[in-house]
Symmetry: C2
């Protein structure tokens, strides 16, 4: 299927794909492992360990409280935010790094609803990541809105206040049509909130050009910020003056050190900040973003499609129909992650890991393999699918060691 | 005044105070500096740099996604929470480390109000840290409650749902009577939320014995968790089954990896978790808490009073009435932090820092000097007050370099 009809053609495609630019040496990867789980936790950029050691030993240890000024801690959420904005097609001053994606969803949904006070409903894709559903439900109840489950692309009722969609489906890897869906939400008079958890750092997104209103996302997947690195929230500049978020804290205040009893929101994007940010995690993220230096997001997108296309074609050729490719084959509808369906997906993921190929599992029957373009090579992809084919054909997943359930897979 | 009527007696008190146990060697302190700002950012424990390097290079870099299981990342919020609970007089299973103090205030106030659905008002001390006021106002508006400003200790109306008070006043350093105030809130049929930002790690608190309902606090002051280390939230076990917090995320779900669309809260304290925690900051905090190993909180409390008492007496003796001691002299009403009033407090703090004594400033006229008992010695305190006396008598604060305003002081 595809153009990979024989092993030689796949190998030639891999060689051609790996002949271009490379940022693999910007990462530390463990020997003997093909890491295809950057869609869950990005690999460690080489710039991070010295930056974190500096943050701990010099900034905190030696310079102590003065570092809020002298090392720029206070301004870090906006400074790092501007760097991420650049990867998402947004001008500076519209994005801050703050809190977790969950908390930022709550801020975005309520702030979005308050921009449309005449609206009566929040629309959310039922296939969203669960927290998105929990937060929409909780937020809607607090502000008295109805929740409507609806996939992106279907027409919205005119009483919609805000619609929350994910750019990439976390299970299937399907890429939704952000420009068209955004336009449709606007046609209904509503505000759109995009969850970019699975597209930030792997897709150009073009937030400004697409007139997105609000967006949130995760910095520890394709942005490689480290486990639990703080999330980001974007609000288009045209909304700033009216933006009323539900979690006001002193870091979002217009004059935080005046310590006045009444809340006055900062004039710009800083009004989306709340409390004191986890500085070590935030500075690790800042250092991690250097891995993107000089790499246009169009090139990252192209590499993502090349890697995931090769992966799908190799699965078609080598896995003998034992898994179903769930991810759309149309390049316009996929990104870097490929999802494969197998009735024993959990055990297959465990068997892959034992053989040095790290992917992950999602209920009830999905194997997720993410080909992060900055450090996964085409050669990695072919070797990983070869291992998968062996695991499937040799029924290696039947080893009882692989059926014990852990918390995180 | 006091028993420090002459320099020799103060020096003898300092020597006696420093003759007991010491944990100073558990911290890295910069040479040539007397650090009296542990009430804002605790000093760096020696255990932290190697623990953070391990978290970055081994756990994240080498073991990658598997670390959620193999290095106990998933359980860290409760594991570190139990360690903090032990410092606050709480049995395990009632405290998690999650989000910022600001966010945790929002959770606690709304969860508290939902325990008293017949209540109509939230009471808050108008002298609270500003974020407490902002969050109470925002939360009360969302759940339809009235906000009443009221100092702790005054009688509460019977329609009070929840009352939020700070154990230690962040400006004056006044210690409120947590047992009596808690009992009074309960007598009114309401739920109490304590903000322990300025007492956690410096006071026994005794949450369980005092029947506290909910509490939040900061881990980067006297707990020394590092800049912006994640905060903690406590809920007494008797409330867990009915505890309904407003920010549901997958980390607080009963079966997080089932990824089901409906939220079902975890049975215990984990229901107060929300999103993915900033793991590097959280693991730094965990390592930092080793500084408390083997030190009873009663000894820490005793040391805090000894240090702050010596500081007040030395100011009385050496500063010639040029500053007003704002902190209560009664040991039952103070903790480790001493606040001094001076019309040019900002410039005095800057002049002190230039002379190697780091305190901080709060609007409009307060100098805050915090004597963190784990690493500040009585000898430090005397040397710092001697520098303060010189700054005041020599009018060193008049140097125009010291009047430029920075963001954080």
């Amino acid at each position: 299927m595809g153009d990979g009809g024989d092993d030689g053609r796949l190998a030639a495609r891999a060689a051609a794909g790996d002949a271009g630019w490379s940022t693999r040496d910007r990462f530390r990867l463990p020997p003997g492992v093909i890491y295809l789980d950057g869609n869950s936790l990005g690999a460690l950029p080489v710039a991070v360990p010295p930056a974190v050691a500096d943050a701990v030993e010099i900034q905190w240890g030696a310079d102590l409280i003065a570092s809020w000024n002298t090392h720029g801690w206070w301004l870090a959420p906006g400074r790092v935010g501007d760097r991420i904005a650049g990867l998402l097609g947004a001008e500076p001053g519209q994005l801050v790094v703050t809190d977790s994606t969950s908390i930022d969803l709550f801020k975005a949904v309520i702030a979005g609803a308050r921009l449309r006070p005449q609206g009566r409903a929040v629309v959310v894709d039922p296939d969203s990541f669960p927290t998105d559903l929990y937060m929409v439900t909780a937020a809607a109840e607090l502000v008295g809105l109805e929740v409507r489950s609806q996939a992106p692309g279907r027409p919205l009722a005119p009483d919609t206040a805000v619609a929350l969609f994910s750019h990439v489906d976390f299970r299937t890897g399907e890429l939704h049509d952000l420009p068209a869906v955004t336009a449709a939400v606007h046609d209904a008079g509503a505000v759109v909130v995009w969850d970019l958890a699975h597209s930030a750092g792997v897709h150009p997104v073009d937030l400004d050009a697409n007139q997105v209103d609000l967006a949130v996302g995760c910095s520890y997947k394709y942005l490689n910020g480290g486990p639990g690195a703080p999330a980001f929230i974007y609000a288009a500049r045209r909304h700033h003056a009216r933006l009323d978020q539900p979690l006001p804290g002193w870091h979002g205040h217009d004059r935080p050190f005046a310590m006045t009893p009444g809340y006055v929101a900062a004039p710009g994007i800083d009004r989306l900040r709340t409390g004191t940010p986890p500085m070590l995690s935030l500075l690790a993220l800042e250092a991690a973003l250097a891995a993107f230096d000089g790499v246009p997001m169009t090139a990252v997108r192209e590499r993502a499609l090349s890697l995931s296309g090769l992966l799908i074609d190799a699965v078609d050729d080598w896995c003998g129909g034992e898994v179903e490719v769930v991810t759309p084959r149309d390049p316009a509808r996929r990104s870097a992650q490929v999802a494969l369906r197998h009735p024993h997906a959990y055990e297959v993921v465990r068997a892959l890991a034992a053989a040095g190929v790290v992917g992950d599992y999602r209920e009830p029957d999905l194997i997720r393999l993410g080909a992060a373009p900055l450090y996964v090579t085409h050669s990695d992809v072919l070797r990983a699918v070869r291992v998968l084919a062996d695991v499937l054909s040799g029924r290696q997943w039947r080893n009882p060691d692989f059926s014990a359930r852990n918390l995180v897979t």
